[in-house]
């Protein structure tokens, strides 16, 4: 999955129009953001990669970019 695919997926999950998220937003400032969205994204990241994420990595997430990293999206780290 590419960075833009991941962002589109997040738009979808949060019920935002496609293309809304750019990657640098703070999670708690997002419209529609709640713990359920985080749960959704973590379980998606886990399913996509077939691994359990470590507790620390989840705790450290505060921006959309962190989530990109969490999901181990190709090229995400470099582009943020």
């Amino acid at each position: 999955m590419t960075r833009s695919e991941f962002l589109l997926e997040m738009d979808d999950i949060l019920g935002l129009p496609p293309g809304t998220l750019r990657g640098n937003e703070k999670l708690e400032e997002l419209q529609n953001w709640d713990s359920t969205s985080l749960i959704t994204l973590i379980s998606l990241a886990e399913s996509n990669n077939g691994v359990s994420l470590s507790l620390q990595r989840i705790v450290d997430c505060s921006t959309v970019g962190d989530l990109l990293q969490l999901a181990q999206v190709d090229g995400a780290v470099a582009s943020i």
């Binding site: 997926e9 979808d12 999950i13 019920g15 709640d34 713990s35 359920t36 985080l38 749960i39 959704t40 973590i42 379980s43 998606l44 399913s47 996509n48 359990s52 994420l53 470590s54 507790l55 989840i58 705790v59």
Partner: protein, 615 residues
């Protein structure tokens, strides 16, 4: 009548959105799916309070999706984190004002207050079992008496760590053993309290796998006691249970033949070369699937065949010496070259059930797609093409979940099979009255009896066609009607020379100032056009005369499926007393001093149980 069933099928939109089966697909599309599902017509509104021993928001979202897919539109109350006890014991006004129909206690092993100490004496452990149980019965009893809601209670899953290893299961002080004891006690309570249903998360956790079920990172981050994958399994399970409670479980399994009930193509291979039997791994898998299907029939699911085959070839398949299924197991049999959607429509019409009561199983993905596309109301599980996984694919969707198993369930196929015999008999009479006489019918009619309350509730919640008001009631409500002296309640059982039809009709209404307001009047489609409605009305008038009731008031509330009874009151001599813009009509009938019974063909038989009770 049949045309009616077909018409109603066309407007029923249930099932037009199929939920994906995997967690990522569901998570990704959740919002879109919800919007689509909310577009469905005929959704049953249900108020559900989720009282959690852990975080429940994810469960609520997932449950909402599965309930919508099962035709139920939920409104939720959610307790605060781990407030399940306080909300009930201290009567949280928000919960009380919410007036739930269902209270779901989402508790897990993490909510056990005291596990036994190591080496604790068995007698002491038993005391702990009792006190742990008492912590829950206290809540259940309060919900029953104060809120009157149906309770759904998780039993206990197992922790994914075993301090004592295998001793956990063997020793009475072991946690595994202790949780199993509690589960036994929960089940015992449920057996004697019809208003409490056990959600078997002990089984679900095993099915998902304990580690995947627990998902520890979700516990530490969000205090979710179970992982998202587990939440999916639980939501699907709960939706199945509530579908049964609201009478929306499916009734009939429609099966393809070649490579579905046996390996091979009977028209090409011949019966002797079919893969079916214990001497071949694939043949054995088909045999086990046949056994599964036969077991479904035993517990009340109707079976039908829908196969592209020459009829004689198709029938010959069931003469295979190893075939567990026999031709007489099927209530409808369509083997021809018509399209499957055409045949499935014909099956629904023949059995007089809605398309939304059917589950279609076929190994051929093209046939599955055609049926799913053209008949969206029919459930079409993706069984894949591996016979070893067919049964599991059917099970996963909980199509046939039941709230209670009652004796009538076990003889359901007999009813339908004897209906086929009745149809043949009917054709041999030129005069319909002669046919009715020949049936030699007898009916047991009387006020609701405790022994029938489950069946009466089931009938109230399942009957769509002959149903004047389509009001649904829980078993507690039915119970209180039965014991309220202001209510007149009447049930009817009908038997004839072809067999016992069981309890098939219900009338209930409330008397106020010598006037009876009929709240419910319904009858199973099994006994349409047999004058049973007349026999019931005769009994109602009789009862009104006994009680000095002067007037009977009835309403007809039109639904998508009940047009067949639109003129019932008029035909019984009721006078129109107004209509509402929504099509609801009101009817009145003055109870005469002397009444000429309308039913001429059904004998009233004594009620054996009543006789026993009065003796």
């Amino acid at each position: 009548m049949r045309a009616e069933a077909e018409n109603s099928n066309k407007v029923e939109r249930r099932g037009s959105v199929t939920l994906p089966t995997t967690l990522p697909e569901i998570l990704r599309k959740r919002e879109v799916l919800k919007k689509e599902l909310l577009q469905q017509e005929n959704l049953v509104p249900v108020r559900i309070a989720i009282l959690g021993g852990s975080t429940t928001s994810e469960l609520r979202k997932m449950l909402e999706l599965f309930l919508l897919a099962n035709g139920i539109k939920p409104a939720f109350y959610e307790s605060g984190y781990n407030r399940y006890r306080d909300d009930v014991l201290f009567e949280n006004p928000e919960l009380w004002q919410f007036k739930p129909d269902i209270v779901f206690f989402h508790t897990t092993w993490r909510n056990v207050s005291h596990f036994p100490d190591l080496l604790e004496q068995e007698a002491r452990v038993e005391e702990r079992v009792s006190s742990e149980l008492a912590r829950f019965t206290e809540l259940w009893e309060k919900v029953h008496s104060e809120l009157g809601a149906l309770i759904v209670q998780n039993n206990f899953d197992l922790p994914n760590l075993r301090l004592l290893g295998n001793l956990e299961a063997a020793q009475s002080f072991g946690r595994v053993n202790f949780l199993m004891r509690l589960n036994t006690e929960f089940a015992r309570y449920a057996r004697s309290h019809s208003r409490l249903l056990i959600s078997d998360i002990h089984y679900l956790a095993a099915e998902v796998g304990l580690d995947a079920w627990a998902g520890n990172q979700y516990w530490y981050n969000f205090h979710m006691a179970i992982s998202p994958a587990a939440t999916l399994a639980l939501a699907r399970n709960l939706a199945g249970m509530l579908q049964a409670v609201y009478g929306r479980s499916r009734k009939c399994l429609v099966l393809d033949l070649d490579n579905t009930l046996w390996g091979g193509v009977i028209g090409d291979d011949g019966v002797q070369n079919l893969l079916l039997g214990r001497d071949h791994p694939i043949g054995e898998a088909y045999l086990d699937f046949q056994q599964y299907v036969k077991d479904l029939k035993r517990r009340g699911i109707l079976l039908a065949v829908c196969s592209k085959n020459e009829r004689e070839n198709a029938r010959e398949g069931f003469t295979h010496p190893d075939s567990i299924l026999k031709i007489e197991d099927f209530s409808a049999f369509k083997a021809n070259w018509d399209t499957k959607p055409e045949n499935i429509r014909a099956i629904a019409a023949e059995l007089n059930i809605g398309l939304d009561s059917l589950v279609f199983v076929d190994d051929n993905p093209v046939e599955r797609a055609v049926v799913a596309e053209q008949l969206p109301e029919v459930a079409v599980p993706d069984v894949g093409s591996d016979i070893a996984s067919y049964a599991k694919a059917i099970e996963r969707e909980r199509y046939f979940e039941l709230e209670k198993l009652v004796a009538d369930d076990l003889s359901r196929s007999d009813f339908y099979n004897s209906n086929a015999a009745r149809t043949v008999a009917e054709a041999s009479f030129a005069d319909y009255g002669e046919f009715l006489s020949s049936l030699d019918m007898s009916a047991e009619i009387g006020p609701f009896l405790p022994v029938y309350l489950e069946r009466i509730t089931q009938l109230i919640n399942k009957t769509n066609q002959f149903n004047l008001t389509t009001r649904r009631y829980t078993s507690a409500e039915v119970e209180s009607m039965a014991s309220d002296p202001d209510w007149i309640t009447i049930y009817g059982r009908l038997a004839d020379r072809f067999g016992d039809n069981g309890l098939v009709s219900v009338i209930a209404g409330r008397v106020q100032d010598k006037m009876l307001q009929v709240d419910l009047w319904l009858m199973s489609c099994r006994v349409f056009k047999r004058e049973m409605e007349f026999a019931m009305f005769d009994a109602l008038v009789e009862r009104c005369q006994e009680l000095g009731v002067c007037k009977i008031v009835g309403v007809f509330i039109p639904s998508k499926k009940n047009a067949i009874v639109g003129s019932l009151y008029a035909s019984l001599g009721f006078l129109s007393a107004g209509a509402k813009p929504n099509g609801e009509t009101r009817w009145e009938y003055v109870v005469p001093r002397s009444y000429e019974p309308r039913n001429h063909y059904i004998r009233r038989s004594a009620n054996a149980l009543m006789a026993v009770a009065s003796a």
